[in-house]
Symmetry: D4
Subunit: 166 residues, 8 copies
């Protein structure tokens, strides 16, 4: 289960604080990943090289995060038929609306599975859901995580009610 299954790419090292949240979620779910910096605009050859034969290297889902005119996820999607998850990253004056539009508005034929602005956590959960159609064990872990979420809200709910009591 620890074999690498998810590739995480980001366009710049300034995206690392956000994109690390994806790797943390994958680690919690016991899903292997690799992580690298590679820019659609500054090192396109490196990105193409990365995507080439990616299925053979055992990667099954790719997560790509980038800001501003965020082309990284779309650029990767243009070079593979693996599912590519795009994380629009908030940076600069337009606060992520630019990266959201640049990531989600892909032309027919080359989809990018887009999550919320700065939504690196959900990119990891989505990757896990995708893997869950093949690896039953991951389904179980995701269901446990959902139960944890419910419990955590139940906890907070109790604490709030206690505080509100006269």
């Amino acid at each position: 289960m620890k074999d690498i299954k998810v590739g995480i790419l980001m366009g710049s090292d300034s995206d690392l604080p956000i994109m690390q949240k994806a790797s943390e979620v994958l680690r919690e779910l016991g899903i292997g990943y690799e992580m690298d910096i590679s820019s659609a605009h500054r090192t396109p050859e490196k990105v193409i090289q990365y995507v080439k034969d990616i299925r053979k290297r055992g990667i099954e889902v790719i997560i790509a995060g980038a800001g501003m005119a965020a082309h990284l996820a779309g650029f990767i999607a243009a070079h593979t038929t693996l599912p590519v998850i795009g994380v629009p990253i908030r940076s600069g004056a337009l606060a992520g609306i630019d990266s959201l539009y640049s990531t989600v508005q892909m032309p027919p034929g080359i989809p990018v599975a887009t999550v919320a602005i700065d939504g690196a956590k959900n990119a990891a959960y989505l990757a896990a859901e995708i893997l869950s159609i093949k690896y039953e064990e991951i389904t179980r872990r995701l269901e446990d995580q959902r139960q944890d979420m419910r419990n955590s809200i139940e906890e907070k709910s109790k604490r709030l009610k206690k505080k509100l009591k006269p």
Copy 2:
């Protein structure tokens, strides 16, 4: 291969002209699907019923399309750990910006894989890419489709150049 694998849901029958494009792409790729109308706001019980035991019924990816305050995809995602693809549909005064934000800006833990506004075709291609990690045959079909796309552009390119010649 024709066993049903993709569930397509839409919030209203007015979404059908858009959502049908998803079913057409799946048909071309030889992937089974089922399609239904069910609203997060008007028939929530029906949606919950639909999602319950959905893995057992053999569905592996869900595509959900809705307009305006488009809650359908998020609502489904709250009830399953299967990958859910959201299609924001353009309708009304805000031209799909409302449905895009309502679909993509999901909270951590409950992801929706969002495609472009009215991007039902890409929802189907994304579903196929997700299935391709499990069914090798689909990878081949997707690669053929990519080749077709390349050929089609090559065709158009030739025709344009011919037209431009003195």
Copy 3:
């Protein structure tokens, strides 16, 4: 008059600093309320359970606050014919435009009475206005509050004019 009449729900405990303003206004107006955390995406069953038989428990208006793809108010509205007031909460990159659109752009048949982004105070005043059609006493209190507002502005106006005098 202190019997519970308003139910306040929020999607996450991070919404509490905003939503508490609603409870403060209700307390000032002498209107009973209960308050809980419950997420449309993370604990949908809990929300459904909460809304079920809500009229019988004496709740007459519901206030729901949530951020980002804010589905909570719409989700509640889908399960009750009681008036539901939605408070779009500012959070994340889109600064509440996402939650505003997700809350207000409801489809025909399932309305949400939406107030300003972070407008929890007005949610409470609106709840009181709604109750005032049934409880005459509340009308009087609202009119007193309006008079207080007028007095407060009159005060500020006087202070400003004093300061401006040569």
Copy 4:
């Protein structure tokens, strides 16, 4: 039950095609209403006159629709403690975003219950929900209407499935 309970106001006769949908819904639900044209900017005195003693005339909810810098609902709300429902109307270059912001972003103390752009139907349903806390009969009618909505979707769902069958 046919005694007038809802007052419908609009800023211009060009708003009538939209606002009529509110009156149609109220008629279906058997709720009385009156309807008038009155502009916050062109006939402010008429609006003030209309709101004065409005409770005594038996009006319990006000619906106000206006376009562009849509001040009508807020202007009415400033003169009454009755619940005021605002319908932002789409008109001109900004397609209703201007009227949405002008209607919903009210300052603390003077709420407007805002519905979707051009959402006159939901304004009527919301008015009915508000009245339902006082008039039990309306609750029943609203529940019937919800059932009708569910049936209508069930119908469409069946028809779609039939069409899809091989």
Copy 5:
């Protein structure tokens, strides 16, 4: 010349830090003004009272600043044929886009002369330009102020060039 000619109104005392800039510019230009707090929503009667007979009191231009659903300038414009200058004030989640649209998108017949978001200085300059068609002296002062602006930029230009020299 020191007789009061410009009336400055603001919707809340929180608008004072912005609106004071208008009074400072007027003082520099030697134009009289009065300043008050009065809300279109919280003290509409006070606003109407203020505008009544305003020509007789010697006011010739009105400047009104407000935030969010900024109705103050439009509300005043509805009650006078004097020129009304609107200052949309930045406040809350929408950063002044709401107040800009609420101020500028007025219906035909009731204009508001809108300046930039938080543009209180320009409101004062515009008021002076309006008065300049009647009071020649003000034209001269405005031309002096323009010359000052030019000199100030010339200064800065020289300083920059000096700094850049090798």
Copy 6:
């Protein structure tokens, strides 16, 4: 009274259908005007020539309409201390938001009195209001026009009520 007092400029002859509405309103109010086409970008010299000595030619208010990166009003304002009214014109993909921002967001010192997108009528009314501080006759005409507006709405109100009667 028929001496020219208002100068109307537009950036392109495609703006004429909108800008003509300004001239119609001025004609109704009996205010003289001249109208010309002159572009800040294509004929800047012509604009500068136009503005030079404009006070001496008897112009007291300038109305300028332009679309897209609408610099015309600001460009004129940079060359005169007369009041300049800007009409942002809707054209192209951004539907007038570009021209609104380009017109209204002027830097301190050089104001443009901005009206609604395509709001040429209000530009004329605003020009009249400005002139009214100097020409008492125009005040009277504006008050008549306000009365006409009120009557017109009263008419429409009566017609609507008649239609609604059983």
Copy 7:
């Protein structure tokens, strides 16, 4: 002068009606060009091939037009140090705002010279201006064209004034 100097690329044949305007302007200015269809997402290899050795083939400026998540111009810019002009094309629900942001918001180091949405004509004029720093003849042609523009506006101005005369 007829040697090819400008390369025009577009992402889809649906962009042709817009991009043809660029070729028309170049033809009028007597500047050579070549035109092709090539997609950053569907035929990335073809784009890379096109850009390779592009300086050697005599191309000195590249114009690239694309809609939605418009990556074409940025993708080309990543592979050459020639100036690349981007034309954001209006298409789909977001009316070109998506393509504008995707084209203009490039990261430091890889610039795209962006023109207006659908601004293919200006892309050609900009290309000519760039070439004019090297080819004096083009400067002359551009100055002629500016003169033509001035004359055309002068014409329209005369016609308008004639029409306005009593």
Copy 8:
């Protein structure tokens, strides 16, 4: 090579922190530049004077940065056929969307080569790319700079992978 080739203008000294980045990049690339403050609105004559005979003074590209209703680049473009690069600067409530639209949405015939909001660095790179069509040496420097960028990312990539190793 050190002869002045690029003219940098900004509308206000508050733009200096951003615009200095352009001069730094040019210095690194060994390209000469001059820099000045000059406002389209406050010192239009100075701008016109600056642009006049600019080709003769050896300037070949102009970079202009301005905020809000950013007319400077367009104003310069109206007075020269040299390529003008516009830098929309973020300032005030609209965070640079206003300056982006004011800079990029130019009418046909007068192009401005627009870069990202606050994108002064890219303005300099673009200027260098334009000059590279004439000065071969600059091509080489740009290619070196691209190589440096690639190396820098390679460095960061290595450091990240090292950190990730168990």
